[in-house]
């Protein structure tokens, strides 16, 4: 059962809401928490007994570790460290086991003569997210950020169904205090914002992302192995996948935030228009935010500190001329960047394509960081630099991320390289048939039919939407849609639109007759939407289109991690 299924929308959510409404009327909030834990367990059980067993085992094991660390005996630092290490190792082993279950069972069948049925391997839903969440939880206790863990809070924190499928990765300290605020008014206070978030997410997932899936599948899965795609085919497929994963994951995130918000719980912001990023560093801070924060805190930062505390590093930094110190330090931390992106790749899947994806992002980030350190030395005029690099950086970042996503989507490194060779133009710009048409004296463009033009236009429109339009968080900025959501300085494209609007208002020569429309756009950019009847109707239309498109869709891309 996924968020984009009839069972979830028509049965599970209404039943859960009804139960919550009933239990939250009680003064004792434990009833409401108990109800949500129960429904969350049912949600996990719908994904299979295996998923439920894995999640329950992991939750129980981590609770035991947490109790040991929090108990009086754990004042002994060594014991505390040992319990923490064992807990982290067990979590990682669990993740590695399921990521490589197929390989392990094949080996067992071959060497030990066992007869495991490999066709029946099922990857437990959301185990990667849960594992990292649990590691973060243990680390918070180990670092004494958490001094107390309540059993019921912990259970709801672990099982809370809105985040089970694909995150976001949350901290105990972020969720538990919110559970204390369950009241009989919770539902009615938060329902409008929750409805908006869920409807927008459903529209993104079912209508847009699932609509793009056939083009992507055609190019990545159904193309014969010996066929090399032309540049136009390869770019079209890769860009379509960039958009598919964008709308799939942001759709999921909005739906998760929306469902959680029904119960008054704000989940952390996880997705913030990564295709508006003007550099890869910014891209990472906008895409899968909770994973990036986790990796930064638990992988990158410790490694960086470790690398910089070497005597050689310190000596080099001390003796280097001032203007090169930043550059030198950046070069020194490059190994930490590579390890972090590789961990991210391996977290997605222990396979060569994901390792390549991680490596590529490692290279991007290292180059980007070095350039940031080098730029003041070679291009000191910041204003002229930004004038050039703001638009160029956006295109470059998008292109780099699209290239890396080819490894993410391809079934093997070979097919990814074939696609990349197509993108590089090694197989010609146009499909072979088009070139042959010219030889036969037929106009090449005449074979473009309405459907091809429509698909191409759709891709263009979607790119304009993801790079120029405000995202769901910005649209709902007036209602604090997520934890850690800060109203960003308005993106350059938006501020350009705004300044153009202001100019039109202030300059009599550019006076536009449609003042109301400009004022509306300005207010929309500044404040986001207002919860009025027009908004309700538009949100209902998005939700209806999402519901009608449900039949055509599949599971979320991130649900397999």
């Amino acid at each position: 059962m996924t968020f984009s299924s009839y069972q979830f929308i028509l049965i599970f959510v209404p039943v859960t809401i009804a139960g919550f409404w009933f239990t939250a009327r009680s003064a004792d909030r434990r009833w409401a928490m108990g109800w949500l834990i129960l429904t969350s367990l049912v949600f996990c059980a719908c994904a299979g007994v295996k998923t439920l067993a894995v999640i329950v085992t992991s939750v129980a094991g981590n609770y035991l570790c947490a109790r040991l660390m929090l108990s009086g005996n754990s004042k002994c630092l060594r014991l505390r460290a040992a319990v923490f290490s064992v807990g982290v190792c067990l979590n990682i082993m669990l993740l590695v086991y399921f990521k490589r279950e197929a390989a392990i069972l094949t080996f067992s069948n071959l060497v030990l003569g066992t007869r495991f049925d490999l066709a029946r391997i099922v990857f437990p839903l959301g185990v990667s997210f849960l594992t990292f969440q649990m590691i973060g939880f243990l680390a918070d206790i180990y670092r004494r950020r958490l001094k107390e863990v309540r059993c019921l809070d912990y259970l709801l924190f672990s099982f809370f169904f809105p985040r089970v499928v694909a995150g976001p990765i949350v901290r105990y300290g972020e969720l538990a205090p919110q559970f204390a605020r369950f009241t009989s008014r919770t539902l009615r206070e938060h329902a409008p914002v929750a409805i908006c978030l869920f409807s927008i997410g459903l529209f993104k997932k079912a209508f847009i992302a699932d609509g793009l899936a056939p083009f992507v599948t055609q190019a990545f899965d159904l193309m014969p192995a010996d066929e090399a795609p032309s540049a136009i085919t390869a770019w079209f497929a890769s860009l379509a996948f960039s958009l598919q994963i964008y709308f799939d994951f942001s759709g999921y995130t909005d739906m998760a935030l929306g469902v959680a918000r029904l119960f008054g719980v704000r989940l952390p912001m996880n997705f913030n228009s990564p295709y508006k990023a003007k550099s890869i560093v910014e891209f990472w801070s906008r895409s899968h935010i909770t994973l990036t924060l986790f990796l930064t805190e638990y992988v990158f930062s410790p490694l960086m500190k470790y690398l910089l505390q070497f005597r050689l590093s310190k000596a080099l930094l001390t003796r280097a001329p001032n203007q090169f110190k930043h550059l030198l330090m950046t070069v020194m931390i490059c190994p930490a960047i590579f390890v972090t992106t590789e961990v991210s790749g391996l977290w997605h899947g222990i396979s060569w394509p994901f390792i390549c994806w991680g490596t590529l992002h490692g290279v991007y980030l290292a180059v980007n960081q070095i350039w940031r350190a080098l730029r003041p030395l070679v291009w000191s005029d910041r204003r002229s630099y930004e004038r050039v690099m703001n638009p160029a950086g956006l295109v470059l970042t998008l292109a780099c991320s699209t290239v890396a996503l080819v490894f993410y989507r391809a079934n093997s490194v070979g097919s990814a390289l074939s696609m990349l060779s197509g993108m590089a133009g090694l197989n010609g710009f146009l499909p072979t048939e088009w070139a042959l048409l010219n030889r036969l004296g037929i106009d090449t463009w005449s074979i473009l039919d309405f459907q091809s033009i429509r698909e191409f236009s759709w891709i263009i429109v979607l790119f304009l939407v993801v790079t120029l339009m405000p995202n769901s968080m910005e649209i709902l900025k007036g209602f604090q849609p997520a934890l850690n959501f800060h109203v960003n300085p308005v993106p350059s494209t938006v501020s350009m639109a705004r300044s153009a609007g202001q100019e039109a208002i202030t300059s009599p020569t550019n006076a536009s007759p449609d003042w109301g429309a400009i004022r509306f756009i300005q207010r929309f950019m500044r404040e986001g939407i207002r919860l009025n009847r027009v908004t309700a109707s538009l949100i209902a239309l998005a939700c209806a289109l999402g519901i009608l498109a449900l039949n055509d869709g599949g599971n979320f891309i991130y649900a397999r991690f």
Binding site: I447, A536, A549
Partner: protein, 410 residues
């Protein structure tokens, strides 16, 4: 709940309910898949034939079935006057990209519910090769049929029917409903009540405006790629498909149904490409094998009534030249799909009516002479229309050399 929140939620709920309800009502009224059986409008050309024909064939209650791929669906007219009166009504169960196994399963589906007097089955060479999976179809399609492969009642059918009805709240059905209504108004191609795909005036006009060269080119490229894969895989007739053909004959025999098999006519472009790719011998062997199979079956089952026709020669329609200024050929939409003109000749010939003859009834006695005759026709065509042959060869060489380059790169 404050008034503001109340208004927002009630507006949202009412609008959502109204949009979904309108979509469902529209889908139910139009019924683009004919799930409910009313034929207010004819399904649009884009509607999935696998889906709606499974239901419509039951509502049509035919005495005879036309089975095969899209060639049959487009080319054979179920309402042609040459069909024997005793066999009417006739339903065209031609389905795009149908394998022989799919034809067999749909035949089982119909025969379980009602007896048939006649089955006419169009055969394609490519569907007998082992390049694709020939012994299975999509589970969703299987679940819709009345019987399982082993002849037992399909317990899943009720659930599948409910699932198809649930499509009423889907965007796909909404799009198909809209297309059905629009095509009905604009006279675009659609399916008539006997399952025939009907090219109406505007449909033919659109095809004609694209030009025959373009349409042939697109399909030629596809044929070359497929033939190249077949050739590289070491083309052979899949014994499993021959068994399925035998099962079809057996099923019809057990229900007292007459069977007419015919090899679909194809354009000379396609024959030239097959020959260039070295598939000609396999093509002839295939004809020999199905001739032997039908003959053996007839001998072993004296009550069975089976005939086999071959229309895949270099006849006058198949050799019609494709020129840069050609709008629409008389006999073919593209190298695979023949027009009703050719289809009508086929129907007239297999029912012994007067008129031009394009094919021959195959028997073990005349098969070799018939194959030799086609080879002679082929030679004549090459001498008579070198430009057409050159066009097909040029395309073939272009595609194959680009394939070889790709392979070298791999």
């Amino acid at each position: 709940m404050d008034a503001h929140t109340k208004y927002f939620i009630s507006t949202w709920a009412v609008t959502l309910g109204a949009i979904v309800a309108l979509a469902v009502i529209f889908n139910v009224v139009v019924d683009p898949y004919r799930l409910l059986g009313w034929n207010l409008l004819e399904p649009a050309s884009g509607v999935d034939a696998r889906l709606f024909k499974a239901y419509e064939v039951m509502h049509a209650a035919p005495n005879a079935l036309i089975l095969g791929s899209s060639s049959v669906e487009l080319g054979i007219d179920a309402n042609h006057p040459a069909w024997p009166h005793s066999d009417r009504p006739i339903y065209n169960l031609g389905i795009p990209a149908a394998t022989l196994y799919l034809c067999y399963r749909y035949l089982q589906h119909v025969l379980f519910s009602r007896p048939l007097k006649l089955v006419v089955l169009g055969l394609d060479f490519e569907s007998f090769t082992d390049l694709q999976r020939n012994d299975s179809i999509e589970p969703e399609v299987e679940s819709r049929l009345t019987v399982n492969r082993d002849g037992s009642i399909n317990q899943e059918q009720g659930r599948a029917h409910a699932r198809d009805l649930l499509r009423g709240i889907s965007l796909t059905e909404l799009i198909d409903s809209t297309a059905t209504v629009v095509d009905g108004i604009t006279d675009d191609p659609n399916f008539d009540a006997s399952g025939d795909f009907v090219f109406n005036r505007s449909g033919l006009g659109e095809l004609s405006s694209q030009g025959a060269m373009r349409t042939f080119f697109m399909l030629d490229v596809y044929i070359i790629q497929k033939a190249h894969r077949l050739s590289r895989a070491g083309v052979r007739v899949d014994p499993q498909v021959l068994l399925i053909l035998r099962d079809i004959l057996h099923l019809c025999d057990s229900h007292g149904t007459q069977v007419i098999l015919f090899i679909n006519p194809v354009h000379a472009d396609l024959l030239e490409i097959w020959d260039s790719e070295g598939l000609w011998t396999a093509f002839e062997d295939w004809k020999r094998q199905i001739t032997a199979l039908t003959h053996e079956y007839s001998q072993a089952h004296v009550h069975s009534r089976i005939s086999l026709w071959d229309f895949s020669g270099y006849h006058s329609y198949a050799t019609e030249g494709v020129r840069r200024d050609s709008r629409l050929l008389e006999g073919y939409f593209d190298p695979y799909h023949y027009t009703r003109t050719v289809g009508d000749v086929i129907v007239r010939q297999i029912f012994g009516q007067s008129g031009p003859h394009l094919g021959t009834e195959l028997t073990p006695k005349n098969i070799e002479a018939h194959l030799a005759f086609i080879r002679e026709q082929q030679q004549e065509y090459r001498n008579r229309q070198p430009l057409d042959v050159q066009r097909a060869r040029l395309l073939y060489e272009g595609i194959v050399s680009s394939k070889n380059n790709d392979k070298a790169r791999h």
